[in-house]
Symmetry: C2
Subunit: 347 residues, 2 copies
DNA sequence: TCAGCTTGTTAATTTTTATTAGCAATAATT
DNA sequence: AATTATTGCTAATAAAAATTAACAAGCTGA
């Protein structure tokens, strides 16, 4: 009886073609991204739009394959993971999926579009349950056209077209919270060492820093914002500059943990006792954060939870509406952020 | 051109039907589980058996014989990679495979045998070209039985039965070379901080250390071998113990880089200048090694090359004989291993 | 015994998609 | 202006899989 009901007139390529005002062949070409077929950007967009509007999924993708055999989720990374970020989100996704007997296959494409398309088409033929498309660097991307044939989510990146669900860390809120933590333990002159200025994470963390200061009615002093490069060397140089300025800060917020390593060294060289004479806050909660002395207070990126969310979103077949999530991570309170208390400086 | 050659004869419903002694329609009904069609349990079982035997997977309809289905190599990791070791070997394997248009699918099983078997069976059904089975910790393992179905290699682990080809880092030779490097720049009293004693890598690195001393006709002083734990804390404690002993060393070889971090701290606390008053050598070439000050001389693990070897071994169809490789990695010569020169002490 | 029903299957047909070849329209070249 | 190339697409076609209708075999009750 249900079998009659879910006979809901399957959406086929022909339907998409009609809606987009092109031929079925064109739809096929767009979706399988065949190189030697030239389709104008405009037509491609029209086709993808129609695919989205009609909810076309090649075959009953995202539905248990009537037969047996394990279901599969594909996880595609653009670049290879040097940082442990990737591993942790893979782990989260994988564990959550395996709870439901679903296998996760990971592919690293090196950002090569041909490679991506080949894999997405292979997965379409395999009728994977869904695909998570992940970026190492948090950023806005344009997913490959072939992704449209899958039930998909974006991990650690957002979709410029807004068609696909996505989850990214809430960098702004994380940085705001970290800065507020520094303020709450009494710091008032809080410096910020930025990352590479072209990276979204860098910009957003700086925005969070400024907003926390504004909320606390502390004036943002441009002299306290120094450009770094997300590497220890940059952290070292920026810290030296800050210490030699007219009014040195009493706390330093580094836009990532690696820069905090350099910051530590510079502070120690000048005789500072971190967590006592000056406070330091990092970002990322890389493994080193726990090994620095004193242990570095930092902001955790919720990569595991992001991976879990992807698995749940892909496996919940009732949940089809696209949404863009920004997930907050907790502040890892350790020792480095403490320091000279405000009462002493105001007294 | 190569695409013409690998005309992987696609298994179609018709083939399954022939094998099960039924019609294509029946196979279709069994697989799509259409309710209003009655198929006897017996026939259903026969069909499913044939599907399994032939490794049939439903392909998107309408693919003519051309079938340029990409070949696939499966890469299976037991544990999730917190360290970047895994990422680098994945990268090596993947790049080498993609050169030949072969896709690499990675699966992390968390060491769960049921999961491993499920994936290996799925890959068998997918007709993957080969499987690399990898371990995060270098060690001897017993591969799952289902691995026997595949052309397989072991990455970073060895096979207790010796049936499967394997590649692991040459820990003994690496440690020997590192120790020799310390000797060559003039050190004579060289201490060794061990890792967790139950780990193979720890034992073998210690053997290499001893062998280098023997070759150089330097007596192995048991007081210079201190137990660590592969963590900065252990490196710190061991270094303190060494410095407070009757005859402190003039170089310290840490069995991994993390311990070198703790070692650095302890040395700096006691006023040592690393690379001048004392030499330090690490192992692993983790990313921090470049960020420590002075930059840490250490032994590189050839993970990329190991991954590449796996791809080549699996893709070279003429090469079937099993072999067990131990691959050497170079010493990353930086500043930390230098120190009090021999000429001064001998003069 | 035999019409009528159920069950299990298949042959034939239809649907769906991939792919080859080629066509109209423009752009570049002579 | 004529010729050639290139671009952007479609028509036609090929093939796999889904579906329909039909059919054989067994079974039931008059």
């Amino acid at each position: 009886m249900t079998s009659k009901d879910d006979k809901t007139i399957r959406v086929t390529m022909k339907d998409v073609a009609r809606a987009a005002g092109v031929s079925q062949s064109t739809v096929s070409f767009v979706l399988s991204g065949t190189e030697n077929m030239r389709i104008s950007a405009e037509t491609r967009a029209r086709v993808l739009e129609a695919v989205e509007a009609l909810g076309y999924r090649s075959r009953a993708a995202g539905r248990p394959t009537g037969g047996q055999g394990h279901r599969v989720i594909g996880l595609m990374f653009d670049e290879i993971a040097t940082s442990p970020f990737a591993s942790i989100s893979i782990e989260g996704l994988q564990e959550e999926a395996w709870k439901q007997g679903v296998i996760v296959e990971v592919v690293m494409t090196g950002g090569n579009r041909a490679h991506e398309t080949a894999v997405l088409n292979k997965w379409a033929a395999d009728r994977v349950h869904g695909v998570a498309y992940a970026s190492i660097l948090t950023r806005e991307i344009t997913p490959p056209d072939a992704l449209a044939r899958h039930k998909a989510v974006l991990l650690n990146c957002t979709d410029s077209t807004g068609r696909v669900s996505s989850i990214v860390p809430a960098e702004r809120r994380g940085a705001e919270l970290a800065t507020r933590t520094l303020i709450e333990v009494g710091h008032r002159r809080i410096a910020f060492i930025t990352g590479e200025p072209w990276m979204d994470a860098s910009v957003q963390r700086q925005e969070g820093y400024k907003r926390a200061l504004s909320v606390a009615q502390i004036e943002v002093d441009p002299a306290l914002i120094v450009e770094g490069n997300f590497l220890p060397s940059g952290g070292h140089a920026a810290t030296v500059a800050l210490l030699e300025s007219a009014q040195p800060p009493n706390a330093i917020f580094c836009a990532n943990d690696l820069m905090a390593i350099g910051c530590y060294e510079a502070l120690k060289e000048r005789g500072h006792r971190i967590g006592e004479t000056i406070g330091v806050m990092g970002y990322d909660d890389q493994e080193v954060a726990q090994h620095l002395s004193p242990r570095l207070s930092t902001v955790l990126l919720p990569h595991r939870e992001m991976g879990q969310w992807c698995a749940r979103k892909l496996l919940d077949s009732s949940d089809m509406n696209p949404e863009a999530i920004r997930l907050e991570g907790p502040i890892m309170i350790r020792q480095s952020h403490l320091g000279v208390c405000a009462p002493e400086t105001t007294a």
